[in-house]
């Protein structure tokens, strides 16, 4: 069966989803979905090892050879992102059972796990596939389930946020579809590897340029890159905590993966950067994203919204790495994708821990919560330090690589901007820390002893992994380098 791992990666959760909807009993569904997610993680792990040792894997679905049939193509980058997504899914599902029982009405829980598995399927499918149109299909699977999952938030604003996401997401997906159409019109193929070989010959065509533009804008919409980011903060802030954790850690990362694929694999870096001079657009956008989102984050009263804005800023770092148009920049970008996913995931998990005892996540409701719940409070501090990029956390490693990539190109002003935004991060993280530790807790909070359950240990597992990758960065750095090499 091992030679089928590539397809099982995606098909396993896809088969599990309808089964889960048939089981339709909260506890059993949870157990089932969690088991499946760990299996998926195991598959992605073995795929990762296989790709690291034996090079990229190609799998012809239906036995039809590539440009005619659909193929799965898992290279070092895809394996890396698959690992990330499946790990986050397994962790989220295992950790969040209690929160889901609290936040989701009982009769919807079975469907909730089904939708979660479908979302996972979609995200994995986007990464694994080697066919341009297949990307669109799986993009829609993940998006549709994400819309529903987000809309399950208790606040009614979850609904409007989800609707805005739906509109923006559909426009984005349709733009990507137009891009696929234009490319197909000029090349006659949908296979990514085939596209890659055919595009250089026709790169002078206007429609290829337009295809590039549509791809880029469509992915920017999904990625929530400034100024197309309005849907994201609401979506992350009002979604159920399990959903915001999972999506914050994976959804934008997969969109970023698509961006790499389009820029480097489909069109090739030469076309993207030398012919179209993409970095002249991407650089200012990234900088604006970094600065404006960080500034926005400072003024948020709701901590989840603050983290959402901070995510926007972090996306800016990742695109900045691309915009540098150098190997070092690309490695930094991929590494930051990985590190940030875990840091942000851990932070959202700590917030979910707080929710067990605080009425909401507004700053005033969190007064003294760190003292009342020291392990959770400390977890937030550690995660926050990672976000700022303090040494010994994995956030530092990726920022170090990013800044060295910037210095390599001699952009000293950019270094100043990165430093400035790190300080902004310090401000918004520290505002929360002050509320958590240096204000008096309300009597209700001190008296509330509701148990947190498995969520807390899992939060610490994720946090410790970010600390470990901050101390011994060999694994992610080597993986990021291999991934960047696969893109060249």
């Amino acid at each position: 069966m091992t030679n089928h791992l590539a397809i099982l990666q995606v098909v396993l959760p896809l088969i599990a989803a309808p089964l889960c909807s048939l089981i339709n009993q909260a506890k059993a569904c949870w157990l089932f979905a969690t088991t499946i997610s760990w299996l998926v993680f195991a598959i992605s792990l073995s795929l990762f090892i296989e790709v690291q040792t034996g090079g990229s894997i190609r799998y012809e679905i239906g036995g039809w050879q590539p440009p005619w049939g659909i193929e799965y193509h898992i290279d070092a980058l895809a394996a890396f992102v698959l690992l990330l997504v499946s790990a986050m899914a397994a962790i989220t599902l295992s950790a969040f059972q209690r929160r889901i029982t609290i936040e989701i009405p009982k009769h919807k829980q079975g469907l909730f796990y089904t939708a979660f598995l479908l979302c996972l399927t979609g995200l994995l499918g986007i990464v694994a596939t080697g066919d341009a149109f297949n990307i669109f299909v799986f993009l829609e699977i993940s998006s549709l389930s994400a819309y529903a999952l987000i809309a399950l938030g208790e606040d009614r604003r979850a609904l409007t946020a989800s609707f805005e996401y739906l509109i923006m997401g559909t426009i984005g997906a349709t733009f990507i579809l137009i891009g696929i159409g234009l490319l197909y019109m000029q090349t006659g193929t949908l296979n990514i590897v085939d596209l890659q070989t055919r595009i250089p010959a026709i790169s002078h065509l206007h429609s290829v340029h337009a295809a590039f533009a549509f791809f880029t804008i469509g992915i920017f919409l999904k990625l929530a890159l400034f100024p197309l980011h309005h849907w994201l903060p609401g979506a992350y802030a009002y979604a159920p905590s399990a959903v915001s954790t999972f999506l914050a850690a994976t959804a934008t990362k997969v969109a970023l993966y698509l961006l790499y694929r389009v820029f480097y694999t489909i069109f090739g870096s030469e076309f993207s950067f030398e012919v179209l001079q993409l970095h002249y657009i991407l650089m200012p956008l990234s900088i604006l994203a970094i600065v404006i989102s960080s500034l926005n984050a400072i003024f948020q009263q709701d901590v989840r919204k603050m983290l959402a804005y901070s995510s926007l800023g972090q996306i800016g770092y990742m695109t900045l790495g691309i915009a540098l148009f150098s190997d070092a920049g690309l490695v930094a970008s991929i590494l930051h994708l990985f590190n940030h996913a875990f840091i942000k995931g851990a932070l959202f998990m700590t917030l979910a821990c707080f929710l067990f005892r605080t009425p909401s996540l507004r700053l005033d409701d969190l007064n003294g919560a760190g003292r009342a719940m020291p392990w959770v409070g400390f977890a937030f501090v550690v995660g926050g330090l990672g976000l700022i990029g303090v040494p010994l956390t994995s956030g530092f490693i990726s920022k170090w690589l990013l800044v060295s990539a910037v210095i390599e190109q001699g952009h000293w002003w950019l270094v100043a901007i990165i430093v400035f935004s790190s300080l902004l991060a310090l401000i918004y993280v520290w505002r929360v820390v002050e509320h958590l530790f240096f204000r008096e807790a309300s009597a209700a909070l001190v008296a509330n002893k509701q148990p947190i359950g498995a969520l807390l240990p899992f939060t610490w597992v994720v946090l410790l992994s970010t600390l470990y990758f901050g101390i011994n960065s060999d694994f992610p750095v080597q993986a990021a380098k291999a991934a960047a090499k696969a893109l060249q």
Binding site: I7, V11, L14, I15, P18, L22, E60, G62
Partner: protein, 137 residues
């Protein structure tokens, strides 16, 4: 719709035709336009027409929400199951050639079952979405 015998009678004449036509589209999709998806939608439309005429409650007696959910899941499972079956028979996922001794026959079988899965899922999904909306008030 006791008060509207014309509509009721016409519809009751039409519904079997629609369902039959749905089956035709489902199984004749290899030779003429159509296939599982179109058939599913047509089949669902027939049932929706029934729900429009006789009301939600009666329609659910014919085709309950629960049945719709089970069928939708089994349709998807059927499709994926064909893929897994070909995997167990030693070929790649969704490779129908190995489903029968003769590759062409295998392709026929594969497409037949796969289309059936599509049809099942689409019918029940469309219907349960319709139910969900009309029940919502």
């Amino acid at each position: 719709m006791k008060n509207n015998p014309v509509i009721k009678q016409t519809s009751f004449l039409l519904i079997p035709v629609i369902l039959l036509f749905g089956l035709y589209v489902q199984f004749h999709g290899d030779y003429s336009p159509g296939g599982g998806f179109q058939a599913g939608v047509i089949f669902a439309s027939g049932l929706i027409l029934y729900a429009l005429i006789e009301g939600q409650a009666k329609a659910e007696q014919v085709f309950s929400m629960r049945l719709a959910r089970i069928l939708s899941a089994s349709g998807l499972l059927l499709y994926a199951g064909i893929g897994v079956a070909s995997m167990f028979l030693g070929a790649n996922f969704l490779d129908y050639n190995v489903l029968a001794d003769d590759p062409l026959q295998g392709q026929h079988w594969g497409i037949f079952w796969v289309e059936l899965g599509v049809g099942l899922t689409v019918t029940s999904v469309m219907l349960s979405i319709f139910y969900a909306f009309t029940n919502f008030k």
